[in-house]
Each structure stands twice: as structure tokens, then as C-alpha cells.
Amino acid sequence: MDIKAYIASGILELYVYGSLSEKENAEVYLVLQKYPEAIAEVERIEKSLQQLSGAVAPEDTHDLFSKIENKIQTDSDPVIPIHRKRTNWTTYIGWAASIALLIGLFNQLNKNRVLREKIVKNQIEQQLLEGKINVAEEDLNTAKTILSVLRNKDILQIPLQAQQVDPNAYAAVYWDKENEKTYIDVAGLPTPPPGKVYQVWSLKLSPLTPTSLGTLDTFNENDHKIFSLANPNDSEAFGITLEPEGGSDSPTLEMLYTLGTVTS
């Protein structure tokens, strides 16, 4: 706690006035137990208020005390029996207090155990979260790489259109000619059936000469559905076919999913 700011807030003046709520009073009392400078401030406030209110009193008031003394002496006799009764109460209160204390202690122990369990749980959760963060960071790095590729103006963008096999399929090729690399975005292709794999082809159009760029073996595992394949060819078009696992030497044209020509 910033005790200087606390003192400067003016709460201690109100504490001495007695204008705080019971709850606020209890809070100030706790602060006073901790900070001697707060107590010193309360003493100063009280001293100055004693001067101020004392100054307002009309005259010295010593002669009043004898009257007060007379009144409390005449009252003091019947006080005694009340006292005797009270001793009973104090024993009851004593017992009640010790029972309350025991219950309190038991509660504390129980709370302690619950808190320890919570700590262990939190540690496990933290480890899980750390793992998740690592994964997220890797994902982020991949995404950043992809983004930098997409933003590069020297890269050719070739949309691949759907073919008869699946009219909903689509894909895109991003071709970095200078570095002889292609990035294949296949988010629009259906998941290949078991035992089958997509194969990417670079095509020369006349005469039609397909060259395999590779198979997308990790289609299911790759969340981005973007694959990077080397392409040293002077491609005129790109196509993607569904082939048996391991790929084929030449494309199965009945299983041509998407196709697009390079326009340049």
C-alpha cells in the first residue's frame, strides 16, 4: 500500500471525526496496526482538533468535576449486583469463545488443504497452457511466413478451378519463380479418402507434358493446408489430381480436381 497516498486521501481526518462507517473504521484500524506513520498522522490530527474544539469552550471547566463526582458516587452502590451477574456471562462468553476458536482453527486447516490442492491443479494447468503457447507460437511463425509470401509482389498467383470430379473444389498456387518455389493452398479441397493422396503437377501445354512437383502426404496434419514445393520448371499450368498413396508417374486425368493456367 502507498501509505503516503492513503494519508493524503483525507480518510484519517474522517476517522478521527468519527464520520466513517463501521466497516471503513475497521479497515483504517488495520492500516494503523501496520503503518506507524499513519498513527503519527492520526495523533497530529487529534492534537490539532483538541486545540480547535478546546478553544471553543467558554471557560475553564474544572469546577464541574465535583458535581460529576457527586453524581457517580450516589449511583455507584446499585452497580454491584449487576457486576455479580455479569461474571456468569463472562464464563459463558469464555466458553463460547474457545468453541468458536476451535471451529475457526478447524476451518483454517480445511481451507489450507483446499488451497494446496488448488495450487497443484493450477500448476498442471499452467504446464498445459505453456504447451499450448508453444504450439501457438509455431503456428504464428508459419502464418507469418505464409503472409510474407502472399505479400511479395514478385510472386505469381494462379487460381486453380474446379473440375468435373468435384465442382466445389478449388485451390491456388503461389509461384516464386526466382527462388523456384511454389506454395499450394489446398484449403478448398476435400479430405482425400484413405489410401489416396493429392499430387501436384506442373504442366507444359503444347505438347501437354506433366511434371510431378510432389504429393501432399501431410494433408490431414497440416492445419493451414498450405504446402511448399520446389518448382524448377517453366510451368504453363498447374493441376492437382488424386492418386494412390505414393503418387503416380503420370496424372490420372479422371481424378483431376483442379486446374489453372499461368497468365503472364
Binding site: 493524503a8 486521501s9 483525507g10 480518510i11 481526518e13 474522517l14 476517522y15 478521527v16 471525526y17 468519527g18 464520520s19 463501521e22 473504521n25 475497521a26 484500524y29 492520526v42 495523533e43 497530529r44 490530527i45 487529534e46 492534537k47 490539532s48 482538533l49 483538541q50 486545540q51 480547535l52 474544539s53 478546546g54 478553544a55 471553543v56 469552550a57 467558554p58 471557560e59 475553564d60 471547566t61 464541574l64 468535576f65 458535581k67 460529576i68 463526582e69 453524581k71 457517580i72 449511583d75 455507584s76 452497580v79
Partner: protein, 176 residues
């Protein structure tokens, strides 16, 4: 200072302790009561009542609830406000011209030796009108922050900080 030992002695019904407490706080009680009643005879009655209450109810005081000074302040304010409802008060209050502690202090020439009268006079002459009103309501009359804000038509949030500034000046002038 909290007179801790005196309080314990008082709670054990030690009359000498009551006398010491009377010497320490009677002027404060008188000041608070007189500021509310503005009548010496009535105020003297109430001051006696206050110390009899302090004697009879000393066991209800606990340090956890607040300062002993504050506890006495509350008894004094309540006793004085009770008195304002009495018939005697209603008869005497009709020809009152003074409003609050500042008026009392401005007219006053005789001070007890315990009081830094030069400092107090200086404080009163340099104090802003708003400070005078805030101190009168919060300290002397025991208003809450909310009641003070409403009475003076100022935002609730400024009551506390403003009052702090007013009391800071008092401490400075009195070199406390």
C-alpha cells in the same frame, strides 16, 4: 496520544482515572457541546451528562472501534443534539445570533492556558469560508460526508480531500 492505561483504569471504575480523562477532554467536550447549544448553562449540564455517560459506558469502548477521543466526541455530539430537543433549549435559542464555531472564536478573548490562542485566532482569520463550514459540519456537528455534501451543495468526492486541506492548514498554523 491514546491514554491506554487511563482507559483501562476507567473501565475498572477508577475515579482518579475519570478525573484525568476529564482534565484531558472536558474542554473538547465543552467546545463541541457549546458550538451546538450556544448557551453556557445548558452546555454545562450536558458536559456533566457526557462524563457520567463516559463513566457508566466505559466498557463499551474498544480501541478497535476507533480513537478514544472519537468515542468521546460522539457521546458529546449526541448528548448536545438530544438537548436541542428539550424545552429549555427551544426557549433560549430564539435570540441566538451566532452560527458556528468561527463566530464564537472571533468574539472570544479569554482562552485556557492549554490553548495556542494566537495560533487559533490566526487560523480563523485566514481560513476560507468553505473550510469553516466543512469543519463545522463534519467535526463539530458529526455530519456524514454525504450529509455535508448535500448541505453545502458540493460533490461528495471533494468533501474528504477538501477537509484534509482545511485540517492541514490547522496543523501548519499550530505547528503540530
Amino acid at each position: 496520544m491514546q491514554p491506554t492505561e487511563l482507559i483501562i483504569a476507567l473501565q475498572n471504575k477508577n475515579q482518579a482515572a475519570l478525573k484525568s480523562i476529564y482534565d484531558m477532554y472536558s474542554a473538547n467536550v465543552y467546545g463541541i457541546v457549546f458550538n451546538i447549544l450556544k448557551d453556557e448553562t445548558l452546555s454545562e449540564e450536558v458536559v456533566q451528562d457526557v462524563f457520567i455517560k463516559i463513566w457508566n459506558n466505559s466498557n463499551s469502548y474498544s480501541e478497535k472501534k476507533g480513537r478514544f477521543f472519537t468515542w468521546i466526541l460522539n457521546i458529546a455530539r449526541n448528548a448536545a443534539i438530544d438537548k436541542t430537543r428539550s424545552k429549555n433549549f427551544k426557549n433560549t435559542s430564539q435570540n441566538l445570533t451566532i452560527d458556528y464555531f468561527v463566530d464564537i472564536l472571533e468574539d472570544k478573548t479569554n482562552f485556557s492556558s492549554k490553548i495556542d490562542s494566537i495560533g487559533i485566532k490566526k487560523y480563523i482569520t485566514t481560513l476560507e469560508p468553505l473550510c469553516k463550514k466543512i469543519i463545522d459540519l463534519l467535526f463539530f456537528k458529526g455530519f456524514t460526508q454525504k450529509e455535508t455534501a448535500e448541505e453545502l451543495d458540493i460533490p461528495l468526492g471533494t468533501v474528504k480531500t477538501r477537509n484534509r486541506i482545511c485540517i492541514d492548514k490547522l496543523k501548519q498554523v499550530l505547528e503540530i
